[in-house]
């Protein structure tokens, strides 16, 4: 009768000096809410699948995390969402890649697992399946967050600088 849950909200270079106390508290509160959502399901005797989707949905809806609402931008300034889910005792699995209009990709991955004969759907087909299954759809601006858009701009500027440097390198190489 024991249960447990472990969650993550991404790994990387999280600079202490760039993290304000307010942002730190905001992120910890979001992680707490995700743990609560999963724990409540499990404590009530619910399934681990429901707990996992409950916890991940909270994180997808929070702009602090790179998933759902807080997703990063592609080079084309769009958002392209991936998700997967798996049940251990039956080895059932479902996944989506490159979805762009489905609010909660983890719910779509679960629908793929439970309502389709497939494991992995991608792109517009995945979103079409989500619509067929009645999952909530959103317009692209739902996924817009200024800090992610600014990150993309910085990323493009860095890429452009690298291109200039390599152009100079080539000129030098050929005299």
């Amino acid at each position: 009768g024991q249960w447990s849950i472990v969650i993550h909200g991404g790994a990387g270079t999280i600079k202490r000096d760039a993290m304000t106390p307010e942002k730190d508290a905001e992120i910890r509160a979001a992680l707490d809410r995700a743990l609560d959502a999963g724990s409540e399901v499990l404590a009530a005797g619910g399934s681990s699948l429901d707990a996992v989707t409950a916890a991940i949905t909270v994180l997808e809806d929070d702009p602090n995390f790179n998933a759902g609402k807080g997703a990063v931008f592609t080079w084309e300034e769009t958002n392209s969402l991936d998700a997967s889910i798996m049940r251990g005792d039956t080895l059932e699995a479902g996944a989506v890649a490159g979805a762009s209009t489905t609010r909660n990709p983890i719910l779509l991955a679960r629908k793929v697992m439970e309502e389709s004969p497939h494991v992995l759907l991608s792109g517009e087909g995945a979103d079409q399946f989500a619509r067929d299954q009645g999952l909530k759809q959103v317009k692209p601006d739902y996924f817009f967050t200024q800090h992610r858009f600014d990150s993309l701009k910085r990323h493009k500027a860095r890429a452009k600088r690298r291109e200039k440097v390599s152009q100079l390198d080539d000129d030098g190489k050929f005299g």
Partner: protein
């Protein structure tokens, strides 16, 4: 990237992962998150969700590799002298070693990132080689932790 792994009162383990991928990705790039066996996997004895430089997690089949190792070790220990679950702490130690090893292997290839997983006895475990990983755990016996660094 976000993820969760849980075991319910019936002993069923599930794992899930969701992500927006890499900033500035092009050409329809897909990382490890939707690749079953790379960024997400679950079997009867283990569940895992990964985050990090996805291409390396794909090449190493990290999620499947770790869960497969734990399932095999659990089976061997069970045949020898009873289930790992009946030996306090053993399952978690083995799971931690497997997770650490997987992250080390990702690092050796040039990648970085982290994993969360549940050991065969349901103990939450994590490993990462980045300066931080947003993470948390809760159990029915009252353990609860949220951490960043």
């Amino acid at each position: 990237t976000v993820g969760a792994v849980a075991i319910d009162r019936d002993g069923v383990i599930s794992a899930g992962t969701s992500t927006g991928g890499m900033t500035g990705k092009r050409w329809g790039r897909i990382g490890d998150s939707p690749i079953i066996g790379a960024g997400t996997y679950a079997n009867a004895k283990c569940g895992l969700s990964a985050t990090g430089s996805g291409e390396y997690f794909i090449r190493l089949a990290v999620a499947y590799r770790v869960c497969s190792q734990l399932e095999r070790i659990e089976r061997e220990v069970s045949e020898e002298a009873g289930s790992m679950a009946s030996r306090p702490g053993l399952a978690a130690q083995v799971a931690q070693l497997a997770a650490d090893k997987a992250i080390t292997e990702v690092g050796e290839l040039g990648g970085s990132g982290g994993v969360i997983l549940l050991a065969p006895d349901g103990t939450p475990v994590w490993a990462f080689d980045t300066p931080g990983m947003y993470r948390g755990k809760a159990t029915s016996d009252g353990q609860r932790q949220v951490a960043i660094y």
